[in-house]
């Protein structure tokens, strides 16, 4: 059994089940790898690996049209790929919950991750998304729960940003 500081991905999976999430759109991130494995093992979830994150916004809009709930998993760099496409759930007033693992955050090693990581929250908020951060393992589940509830109860894009202090920074051995 993983200890409490490590089982937040399993807690997210439990919340996805509780909210009857059927479509999981993602571009992989190391921070989401355990959650992705749980979703892939679940026959009631359709996991769709995207070529770019904005595809997921279109897909989850289509899912909602057909009566299914979905969630978009991505890394903070992927948020930048989504900017204009956020107009779709805003104009249609449809739910779009996003769970974002942060790069370019605490202790980042790769210079290319910093510009988008530093701008992720501002960019999402500039595009009308409700954003909440989780910077400690025990905050992840309640924050993701709020993100799912606000999306499906109030029909808009919402996001949880999971900080690099939770995930751990990739250091390439440095």
């Amino acid at each position: 059994m993983p200890d409490a500081t490590e089982d937040w991905p399993d807690q997210i999976y439990g919340l996805l089940k509780e909210h009857d999430i059927r479509q999981v759109a993602l571009v992989p991130d190391a921070g989401h790898s355990r959650l992705i494995k749980r979703c892939l093992a679940d026959n009631d979830m359709r996991v769709v690996t995207l070529t770019t994150e904005e595809e997921g916004i279109g897909m989850l809009f289509g899912a909602w049209l057909g009566g299914e709930k979905g969630v978009l998993l991505m890394q903070s760099s992927g948020v930048g790929n989504c900017i204009n496409m956020l107009s779709v759930p805003i104009a249609h007033r449809t739910p779009l919950p996003m769970i974002v693992t942060m790069r370019g955050d605490y202790g980042e090693f790769n210079p290319f991750q910093v510009p988008m990581g530093n701008a992720t929250q501002q960019v999402l908020e500039a595009m009308g998304t409700l954003v909440k951060r989780a910077d400690a393992p025990e905050d992840v589940a309640p924050t993701v729960n709020a993100t799912l509830r606000m999306a499906f109860n109030t029909y808009r894009p919402t996001a949880t940003l999971i900080g690099q202090r939770v995930i751990g920074a990739k250091t390439f051995g440095k």
Binding site: V48, E55, A63, G66, V88
Partner: protein
Amino acid sequence: MRTGPTGKLLRRDVVAELLRDRGGLLAIGGLGAPAWDITAAGDVPENLPLWGGMGAAAMMGLGLALAQPSRPVAVITGDGEMLMGIGSLATIAVQRPRNLAIVVLDNEHYGETGMQETATRHGVDLAAMARGAGIGDCRLVKTAEEVTALREAIHGGAGPLFAQVKIDEAPVPLVLPPREASILQARMREAVLGPAAHLQ
């Protein structure tokens, strides 16, 4: 089915044929002229004409087709819109939704912005790209008979299928759907899910 000055099929005639006797068919119209085309064929709740979201029409079709596997879903979009989301052909090919058809009305131009040429004008072969992605049924459509066969395939449930329909480039009169997008989604959801759609 009529043809235009270029000898190619007229877009409105193509779409009218594809949406004839449509039954439970759900249609997503890519932004610009394809959205007006599906509206001209009948402004019905089973249509979702797009006013934006360029590049995402095919992926919307995927999400809808996965959620409603027993209903045929047709994405009717333009060459410029498809090119912007071309990677989605790979995503869709991997998922293999049997009830999804992607129909590109290819006039080789960006019609809404002043008829600038798209890549298809210069030889880019969308059907070959779809085939390369792994979509099994990929068609280049140029004749009325091929449009009718495409209509039957859309209803046949042996998808996913991709069709590149060469159409005349002459502009046609605007037929605008409602611009309030919350209405567009809510009316389609009600058509699919009944009144319970609004209580989900």
